[in-house]
Every structure is written in structure tokens, then in C-alpha cells.
């Protein structure tokens, strides 16, 4: 039987070296699949871990800022370092007007704080009294949702209730009060006068952050201003932005806008990073641990690749000798081996990205239950579900690292070819 003549035309795009490299990769399919699996697994783990970490940081930041600080705060200069009653924002309405005109601002509210003695029928404790705007506070913080017993503070303008107080669960326990019980507040007003009031507990909140639940109570801002002789002044304007990524942009815009108003000079804009330095430190520690873990994982994969290539070179030394004998330069052989390592890595990394992103996306939709999380996580308000956050960085940073390391590692065995003499290689057993 005579087969028909085959056209001499061949694919112009794939070089014979590439073709050889691809076929060489599949000469030992089991070993190749094992190596590809190691690369793929490393990429999957890196994508998921990185997305999980970034997602948990966002959850930590959002939970923490939504309970208390907000993404941004405007304060009088020096108030953050020394919480003096007299360091106030004198005309908050003017600032509110400025903030209303800035894009990407989700919500904002005002607060005032001071330390006072709080007494029930049975006990007296020192606590931080926080004046809040009940209407706007609900849009900025999770305080309303955290109210477990009774009611959140009412809108005093519509429904009255100016003498209502919302207190933390641990403080309520310490003072032995419940909803409907009376509390006496005794402190010092802004003008130095004695500030005193009798308030009724309308609700009890529980954030999971012990310090917050033990030391704070909230009253309507108007009541606060009245008790503490504040006039219209407040201590903080809390701002939440639409996305964490918008924080620095909005901050810059507020700083610029403040320059155009008379009291702007006396004010500072602080972001969550400055307001909760402990949170940033916790994230840094976690990230460092993550980097150590990634490094170990990549080292394991690198050794797997190194082993594969050393074995491949050992097994094919004789073949390399023949190729050199017929005129292949060592440089061309190195190129061939680098093609092989790249092909294997690309397949592994490609599969790793696809599977890793797929798994991460599933968890991004359904979340990971962290209800049994540790006390440390609770300190940052992470008591519910964590949603990994897949992004271009989390999807590609790990795989690119794996690719760079594996190709780098494959260089070593490939370079050994350079020192090979054809006659020695051909007699290699």
C-alpha cells in the first residue's frame, strides 16, 4: 500500500524546538502529571489563601470600622492624642455640607465623647459617654444591629426620648441595669461646669468586643450637647466610603475641601489605619505568617521541579550527546529544556489559576463560617462569615511567583548541559 504524498507545508508558527519540547514533556506522563499537579496545587492554595487573607482583612477592617471608627474621621487637631473635651469641631454643619458634595461617600454622622461617672441604684462605674445622631449613626455603624435587648435610640426630633441611653452589655451587667432602669451620669461640661443627668436605658448592645461593651454608653447628640454645655459642637465626624479602596481618594478630597473653609485649618482627617493602629499591626503579622507559608510551599514545588529536571537530564544524557554529535549546540539544548520547563509550568499554573479561581469564587459567594472563631478574631468584630476576595492580584500574584521560581529552578539543570561533552554524554549509562 502506498500512502499519498504529504504536502511539505508545515505549521509556520510552532518551531520544531517547541514541538520537541512539548513532546518531551509527555514522554513520562506520570512524572509530568505529578509535577504539574504540584505546581497546580501550589497555585490553587496560593490563590485561595491570598483571597481568603485579603477577604478576611476587608472583613476585619469593615467590621472594626463599622462598629466604631468609620473609614475616616474629621477631628480637631490633637484630639486623637489627647481626648480633651475642649478640642471640638465648632461648626459641624459647615463640614457636613462639604462632605455631602464628595463622591464615593456612603454615609456620615457626628459624635461627641467624654468620660463620666455612671451610677445605677447599685453601682458606679467610669465609662465613655458617646453622643450620637440616632438617625445617621445607623447608616454609619452597626450599633443599631448590635442592639440585642430593647430598642436603639429613638429619633429625638420626631419621637422625643432625649433622656434615653443605650449601653454596652458588660456595662449593663456591671451596673446591674436592664431596659427601663435609670442611670445617673456625672461629669464635667466643656465650660468646666458640672454635667449631670438622669437617663433611662432604652437598649443594650453587644458587639463582641469586650472593651467596647464594658466601657461605653450612647446618648442622643442633642442630649450630650445639652448636658455637657457643648453648644452645637461635636468631637468627631465619622465618614464611611463606598469601598475600602476609595478611602485614600476621599481623604485627599476632604483635606482639599477643608482648606477652603475658615475652621479647616484647625481640623485633621484621619483614616481607619491611623485610627485603629492595632488592626494594621494584626494584618501585618498575619500577612507575614502568610508570606512564610507561601515561601515554604513554593520551595517544596521548586524542589519537585528540580527533581523532575535533574531526572530528565540524567535519563536523556545519551540523547543529548547524540544531538550534540550531529551538531546541536549546547545553547540550543538549554533552550529546549527551558521550553520544556515553561510548558510544564504553564500547564500547571494555568490549571492552578482555573481551579483555584473556581474554588475561591464558590467561597466568595457562599462565604466561610467563622462563627466558632477565636477571641482574637472577635476583637475585630469577625464573628460571622468571611468571604474570600478574588482580585487580579490574588489570582495572579501567587501563580506568577510559582512560575518565576520554577523557571528559575529549571535553569540550574539546564545550565549543566552547557558543560556536557558529546563523547562523555554518549557513553553515559
Amino acid at each position: 500500500m502506498i500512502t499519498p504524498k504529504i504536502s511539505p507545508k508545515i505549521s509556520p508558527k510552532i518551531s520544531m524546538d517547541m514541538k520537541m519540547a512539548w513532546r518531551n514533556v509527555w514522554r513520562n506522563p506520570r512524572r509530568t502529571w505529578l509535577t504539574i499537579s504540584a505546581i497546580c496545587f501550589a497555585c490553587m492554595v496560593l490563590i485561595f489563601m491570598l483571597s481568603f487573607q485579603f477577604g478576611s482583612y476587608e472583613t476585619m477592617i469593615n467590621s472594626s470600622v463599622k462598629i466604631n471608627t468609620g473609614h475616616l474621621q474629621i477631628q480637631a487637631k490633637g484630639y486623637f492624642d489627647k481626648k480633651s473635651m475642649r478640642r471640638v469641631i465648632e461648626n459641624p454643619d459647615q463640614i457636613k455640607e462639604v462632605i455631602s458634595g464628595i463622591d464615593h461617600v456612603e454615609a456620615f454622622t457626628v459624635r461627641a465623647n467624654t468620660f463620666s461617672l455612671v451610677s445605677s441604684k447599685y453601682r458606679t462605674y467610669g465609662a465613655m459617654v458617646v453622643g450620637i445622631d440616632p438617625v445617621h449613626e445607623a447608616a454609619v455603624s452597626t450599633l443599631k444591629q448590635l442592639t440585642r435587648v430593647g430598642e436603639f435610640l429613638p429619633n429625638t426630633q420626631e419621637y422625643g426620648g432625649a433622656d434615653m441611653v443605650l449601653i454596652g452589655s458588660l456595662l449593663a451587667r456591671n451596673l446591674k441595669v436592664g431596659v427601663g432602669d435609670e442611670l445617673t451620669i456625672l461629669g464635667q461640661g466643656k465650660d468646666g461646669s458640672v454635667a449631670a443627668a438622669i437617663l433611662t436605658v432604652c437598649g443594650i448592645y453587644e458587639s463582641g468586643i469586650d472593651e467596647f461593651d464594658r466601657n461605653t454608653l450612647h446618648i442622643p447628640i442633642k442630649t450630650f450637647q445639652s448636658i455637657y454645655s457643648m453648644g452645637d459642637a461635636v468631637h468627631e465626624i465619622i465618614i464611611n466610603v463606598i469601598s475600602l479602596r476609595d478611602v485614600s481618594m476621599v481623604k485627599a478630597q476632604i483635606i482639599n475641601s477643608l482648606k477652603n473653609i475658615p475652621q479647616g485649618e484647625a481640623l485633621v482627617v484621619m483614616d481607619w489605619d491611623e485610627l485603629v493602629p492595632g488592626l494594621t499591626q494584626a494584618i501585618r503579622i498575619d500577612l507575614t505568617m502568610g508570606i512564610i507559608f507561601w515561601f515554604l510551599l513554593v520551595v517544596v514545588v521548586a524542589f519537585s521541579i528540580l527533581n523532575t529536571f535533574l531526572m530528565a537530564i540524567f535519563e536523556r544524557t545519551r540523547e543529548f550527546g547524540v544531538m550534540m554529535a550531529i551538531g546541536t549546540t549546547p545553547k540550543r539544548l538549554v533552550k529546549l529544556l527551558l521550553y520544556e520547563s515553561n510548558f510544564m509550568t504553564i500547564v500547571g499554573v494555568g490549571l492552578g489559576i482555573i481551579i483555584g479561581c473556581g474554588i475561591t469564587m464558590v467561597f466568595q459567594i457562599y462565604g466561610i463560617d467563622m462563627s466558632g472563631s477565636s477571641e482574637i478574631l472577635k476583637q475585630y468584630g469577625m464573628s460571622g462569615r468571611i468571604y474570600p476576595r478574588l482580585s487580579i492580584i490574588t489570582a495572579f500574584a501567587g501563580p506568577v511567583l510559582v512560575w518565576l521560581v520554577t523557571v528559575g529552578v529549571a535553569l540550574y539543570p539546564a545550565m549543566r548541559i552547557k558543560g556536557l561533552r558529546p563523547i562523555e554524554a554518549m557513553t553515559h549509562i
Binding site: M1, I2, K5, I6, K9, K19, V322, A325, T328, I423
Partner: protein
Amino acid sequence: MPIVEVNGVDKVYQQGDIEIHALKDIHLSIAPGSFAAIAGPSGSGKTTLLNMIGGLDLPDHGDVIVDGCHFSEMNQSQLAELRLNRIGFVFQSYNLIPVLSAVENVEYVMLLQGVEKVERRERAMAMLDEVGLSEKYHNRPSELSGGQQQRVAVARAIVSNPAIVLADEPTANLDSKTGEGLLKIMAAMNEKRNVTFIFSTHDKMVMDYAHRLVLLRDGMIADDEFK
């Protein structure tokens, strides 16, 4: 002018504390178009001499000159260049590249020479036709018999238009009928293309086909017979 000159070549291998004199003061001159065999018992130095002529190994003393090129004056990359363009190799165990098909194996040397793709494929196919493998272009070495693989190896050695083809015991792994068929192909090419063939062998049939027989014994030329 001879195509191959071997002038006073010595080669000593060290095996532990023992020195093995593989070649001792070899002088040999081979004319273009020869069909010569270097014969001798195992360990006589046949393969060592062939490796010297192929520039795969260098002598301790003396010089090898192929097609006017003095090996003693050349570095490794120049020797590689010479092997690519002027010398073809046929090995005892075929040594085809296992991941390439027959036609790709033949093409590979031309790829190294920088021959353009379409011409490469045309010449490779023509060469396989010449060695009787027109039906096996796309078979991998593992799908070919020993004789067919050796014919591909011959096609690969010839296709680059070398000045000499060095064949190291080319029939050793073949049965006598297949071996003779291969020798006929090589003899025809020698005649048609005037390519110099130099064999190392202890196969009587190869010695019979050869026009010149150089007999080696203990690393020295014991006899040199022109037929």
C-alpha cells in the same frame, strides 16, 4: 588531496591507576569518495579512531584533518559547526530522536543548518524516498523496525550533504539480510553522491563491501588493504 588525514594520533584513557593506550601513533589518509572500513577486535580502538575523525574526541598527541580543517586548531564550537556541516553520523543503536517522526528526524539536521522550512521538508521526504521509507514519513522511531530506524539514520546523515559519513558498527544490531540491504543503500549513495563512508566494524559483510580495509590491533594499524 585526502578528505581525512590522521597524523601521529595517540590517545590514552585513564582507568583508575591504569593507563589504557587506545590509539598509538596512528597515521591514516583517506581519499574523497572512499568506502572504507576500520576493523579489528573489541578494544582495538576502532570507535576511538572514528570519534577522533568525527571531532567528538580529541587526541592527546597528533592531529586530525578533515576536509582541510585541523582539529588541533579548533575549539568546541568550531568542531560542532564542522560536525554539523561536513560530517554525518550513523550509530550502532540508531540514536534517532524519539519524539520526532522519521521525516522530522531527517529534517532536524537541516534545521540546525538553517535551511528554510519548505525546502527542509522536501529534501527530507526525498531522502526518505531514496532509502525506501516513503510510507513511513510520520512514524516515530518506536514504530519502526531496527532496519528502518537505521535507514532513517542514514538519511539523516546524508541529507546535510556532508563530506564524510562515519558509521559506527551500523549493522551490529541488524540481522544479516537487513544489514546487507542497508549496506547496499550506503554503497549506492557513495557511488551516486561521492560521499566518503568510513565504517568501524567487525562484521564480515561490511568488510566485504568496503573498498579499503584498515585493520586495527591494540590501538595500532596492523594492516591497510586497498581492494
